[in-house]
């Protein structure tokens, strides 16, 4: 297992650098997705996507009152 990882990644500098940059690219995506989903879960109910239907419904009921 460790020998396979060593031979595949660490043995040559080219494969090591390629692994570093490829995993960095994927990590950027993963971190952004994780933080965004955490932020949206923590602020659920306060976000525009959650408020928009309520606000639009409010405007419609005000129009009905008049």
């Amino acid at each position: 297992m460790y020998t396979q990882i060593y031979n595949l990644i660490f043995k040559r500098n080219s494969t090591f650098v390629a692994t570093v940059f490829a995993s960095t690219f994927l990590f950027q995506v993963g971190l952004d997705e994780t933080v965004t989903s955490w932020y949206e879960a923590r602020n659920k109910g306060k976000l525009w996507s959650d408020l928009k239907p309520k606000i639009l419904a409010g405007f419609e009921s005000e129009e009905d009152d008049e």
């Binding site: 494969t15 940059f21 960095t24 690219f25």
Partner: protein, 77 residues
């Protein structure tokens, strides 16, 4: 019995001053370096809209990450 006066020497084939055989032996590692360079380029252009629209949105599975649909009413002016 024919005598040979000396060793028969031949120059190895060259291309651009380098031996062809040594160029061929470098192809695998140079290919991996090309992949590494491409990955580095992708890493540093990840946030560049032109690259996002041209390449990254078309990556399967993770391509949706770069497709951002902002509600026009929520967009800051």
């Amino acid at each position: 019995m024919a005598y040979v006066s000396g060793p028969v020497l031949k120059n190895a084939a060259t291309f651009g001053g380098y031996h062809v055989k040594s160029i061929i032996s470098y192809i695998p590692v140079l290919t991996i370096w090309g992949v590494a360079g491409g990955a580095a380029l992708a890493t540093f252009t990840e946030n560049w809209p032109l690259f996002q629209k041209t390449f990254y949105e078309k990556i399967p599975v993770i391509g949706n990450h770069w497709i951002k649909e902002v509600d026009p009413e929520a967009a800051q002016s």
